[in-house]
């Protein structure tokens, strides 16, 4: 069974530029999550999708971050414009969701450096 795929693995941009990350979840997983992990901290949820609908985006800085999950499969997370404090690893995770299980499966992450 293929795991969660993410690309790119690394990205370096200048502040005020825009960047986009892509995620392909495990086949059949209805729930998709984007997390931000700053160095020395645990992952922090940015947004949660159930199929192609948003369940929780309370921690997403909506003035600069956006995310979509078209057709309930792949997802993209965009930052525009980027700030220095956005330097972090962006993790995508998926799960069966609901009563099927709480366990989330993570991709390898995208390490973003904003200069």
């Amino acid at each position: 069974e293929a795991g969660v795929a993410q690309s790119p693995r690394y990205k370096i941009i200048e502040k005020r530029q825009s960047v986009a990350f892509w995620c392909n979840p495990i086949s059949g997983h209805a729930t998709l999550y984007w997390y931000q992990q700053i160095l020395g901290q645990g992952p922090k949820l940015l947004i949660q999708f159930q199929n192609n609908g948003v369940v929780d985006d309370s921690q997403l800085p909506k003035d600069r971050f956006s995310a979509e999950r078209l057709k309930g499969v792949d997802s993209t997370l965009k930052i525009q414009p980027a700030k220095l404090e956005d330097s972090a690893v962006y993790l995508c995770a998926s799960s069966l969701g609901g009563l099927a299980g709480v366990e989330q499966f993570f991709g390898p992450g995208t390490r973003l450096t904003v200069l």
């Binding site: 645990g42 609901g98 989330q104 992450g109």
Partner: protein, 111 residues
């Protein structure tokens, strides 16, 4: 407001001995707890979990203990192996699938 806390940023243990990683939480509505293991440049991988209706769950060398009255859980690894060296995160869920993670504890198992 940190709802899940791992107060030890690092832990060093000799190979073959027991590793004990601790986690405290503040929200009594959490009903499911998980431990994840993370190697450098990889995403976290699920290790073991426990429901709030239990106080212990065991899987091979890994055992998780939950003390609800103290709002505390711990992960025991016996015996510890050098391949266990990684960052360990505890996470809590209060329903809806959302996980709240602790800051992580870096475990180093020395041969």
């Amino acid at each position: 407001d940190q709802q899940v806390k791992q107060n030890s940023p690092s832990l060093s243990v000799q190979e073959g001995r027991i590793s004990i990683l601790n986690c405290d939480y503040t929200n009594s509505m959490f009903d499911y707890f998980l431990w994840y293991k993370k190697y450098p440049a990889e995403g976290p991988t699920f290790l073991i979990s426990i429901s709030s209706i239990k106080d212990k769950n065991e899987d091979g060398r890994f055992t998780v203990f939950l003390n609800k009255s103290a709002k505390h859980l711990s992960l025991h690894i016996v015996p510890s192996q050098p391949g266990d060296s990684a960052v360990y995160f505890c996470a809590a869920s209060g329903g809806g699938g959302k996980l709240i993670f602790g800051q992580g504890t870096e475990l180093s198992v020395k041969p």
